[in-house]
């Protein structure tokens, strides 16, 4: 099989890739291969589906007609087993060879499960990143179920939110001293933890699972917890094996330049499988969030089709709601924290070099994107009325020329 464009993956980065290509090239052939058999769906919605808040039909990330509209040939339920950047060929698990001119690797990430004794024999043990995972958990679900979740990060907490009202008990075990350790500091984590406990969740922090036995786990403090459903949500790792085997440079993710081009000619990469340059902390790291995946994919697609685009503004932005309690975070925790208490929560800003580097907002969050943009543009805070901004996000705090550019010009 021959194609101009080949995309491996069928999620946010891949869809971004399709849209990017079609912004420039309306006609040439696009083949999209993915090992999951489904039409593209929103991965974050698996917990909403499990909870019963969203039905299968609304789990879609794009309407199933998307592929026809954008002229994409799909090979779903097919895994790519090798790529050869020199010969421009990808091989699939059913023995097909696909010759491409431009390739996008948008393979995402996979859940990481630490090497715990007994985990491979464990019954009713799940990871929680795919629709199949969510279906597995749903099958095992009973009102009497005792649930143990290993990992108090975003994915573990979303699984907990989905299950807490449908099960008998739910315990979250995490080695860190707080929930969401990668994005929250202790103070804000404390507020979130109180909320989780109020919902009936049991938190076992600074604790790990030592052994999985017959429907029970043994914790590092010696306690034995029986379980009916065990979920490993410790973290994810980039799917970079295909690229690595092909000799493409990888670290904590596939390496790309600002055009999303990898070290191999005509091979691009985007999304959770890549390593990004986080401008809010000035470090290279894997940023596994959906907006990033889409924008990197779109950038790759435009460049693959001969257009010009760069993505040089990567940094984490996340909104997480647990039962109507919302937490917005962006950027990093570089520099000095500034705390603003609000009627229903707390806002914490991190400032260094006269720039906003990050924030955490619990409670009222309308218009918070104005803060995100300060991080994105590296706006010098001395050029805005920061004191009034810290109180509430508003365009009034910017110079009139900025405001006019925002509101009186097309952009």
């Amino acid at each position: 099989m021959k194609t101009k464009y080949l995309i491996i993956g069928n999620s946010a980065a891949a869809i971004g890739g399709v849209q990017g290509i079609r912004e420039v090239d309306k006609r040439s052939k696009i083949v999209l291969v993915a090992d999951e058999p489904y039409s593209t769906y929103s991965r974050p919605l698996i917990s909403y589906w499990l909870e019963g808040r969203v039905d299968r039909e609304h789990m879609v990330y794009r309407n199933p007609d998307f592929y026809r509209q954008y002229g994409v040939d799909t090979l779903l339920g097919t895994k790519v087993t090798a790529i050869d950047p020199t010969r421009h060929i990808a091989t699939t698990d059913d023995g097909k060879e696909i010759t491409y001119e431009e390739l996008l690797i948008a393979t995402g990430s996979h859940p990481f499960v630490p090497p715990i004794e007994g985990k491979d024999q464990a019954k009713n043990a799940f990871t929680f990143t795919t629709f199949d995972d969510a279906q597995g958990v749903k099958k095992a679900l009973t009102p009497d179920a005792k649930v143990v979740i290993m990992g108090g990060g975003l994915i573990g907490l979303k699984a907990a939110e989905a299950l807490i009202d449908h099960v008998k008990s739910l315990t979250i075990v995490d080695l860190a001293d707080r929930v969401m350790p990668s994005v929250l500091d202790s103070e804000v984590a404390q507020v979130m933890q109180q909320h989780l406990e109020d919902l009936g969740m049991v938190l076992k922090l600074k604790t790990s699972i030592k052994r999985v036995g017959n429907m029970s786990v043994t914790l590092s403090d010696g306690a034995k917890l029986p379980y009916d459903i065990l979920i490993f949500a410790v973290g994810t790792r980039p799917n970079q094996a295909l690229a690595e085997a092909a000799g493409i440079d990888c670290e904590r993710g596939i390496l790309t330049n600002e055009s999303q081009l990898t070290s191999a000619a005509d091979v691009y990469a985007a999304g959770d499988c890549t390593q990004s340059h986080d401008i809010s902390a000035d470090v290279d790291r894997n940023i596994a969030i959906l907006p990033n995946a889409f924008m990197q994919g779109e950038t790759a697609g435009i460049n693959m089709a001969g257009g010009q685009a760069v993505f040089d503004k990567a940094f984490p932005v996340n909104s997480m709601g647990i039962k109507d309690f919302y937490l917005l975070t962006a950027g990093s925790t570089e520099g000095q924290p500034q705390i603003v208490n609000t009627p229903d929560g707390i806002r914490k800003f991190y400032i260094a070099d006269d720039e906003l580097k990050g924030y955490m907002i619990l409670g009222e969050c309308q218009r918070a994107g104005i803060y995100t943009d300060l991080i994105r543009q590296k706006t010098k805070l001395s050029t805005v009325d920061w004191n009034s901004l810290a109180e509430a996000p508003k365009l009034m705090a910017f110079d009139v020329s900025v405001r006019k550019a925002d509101l009186a010009q097309a952009h």
Binding site: G16, S42, P44, L45, Y48, R53, V54, H58, V60, Y61, R62, N63, L290, P291, F294, M295, E298, V317, N318, S319, G321, D324, Y326, L328, A330, C365, Q366, R367, A368, G369, I370, T372, D373, R376, P393, K394, L395, M396, V400, R403, K404, D406, L407, A408, Q409, A410, H411
Partner: protein, 144 residues
């Protein structure tokens, strides 16, 4: 494409645009009925008030809409340059709030997002905020 632009020098800070927006999207036949509902209609345009300066802010219908790119469910989309929202698809996750540089999304009473769709989805046909502005502080026109 025609968009809503702001002439902040002309804005009186009367907030009429907010009332007209809420009414236009309420589906009611009179403003009185709309604002007598238990849940007051919400405006998708917001007036910012300073000491001497006032101006209205609504969706810029960006050519590179960060809200759309960031939306985790595909509820936001671009249709002929207009940034639209599918209320049935939105789960109210607020990612778009964190993405929009101008603060143009509005939380609805049922926690999904509301945004300006230039009155193309309701019966007005052109932005009610602009039509009702007494001082041409917001205009609906083509600019660069």
């Amino acid at each position: 494409m025609k968009r809503v632009y702001v002439n902040e020098e002309w804005c009186l800070g009367c907030h009429l645009c907010e009332f007209n927006c809420g009414f236009a999207n309420s589906g009611e036949t009179s403003m009185i009925k709309a604002y007598h509902r238990e849940q007051r209609p919400l405006s998708r345009i917001r007036v910012e008030d300073g000491d001497d300066i006032h101006f209205a802010v609504n969706c810029r219908h960006c050519k590179e809409p960060l809200c759309v790119k960031g939306c985790i469910t595909g509820a936001l989309s671009v249709e002929d340059g207009v940034i639209k929202i599918d209320q049935d698809q939105c789960i109210g996750c607020r990612t778009c709030i964190a993405m929009c540089p101008y603060g143009c999304l509005v939380l609805s009473h049922n926690h999904t997002m509301l945004k300006c769709e230039l009155c193309l989805e309701n019966s007005c046909g052109e932005p009610a905020c602009v039509t009702g502005c007494p001082n041409r502080a917001i205009v609906y026109e083509e600019r660069g």
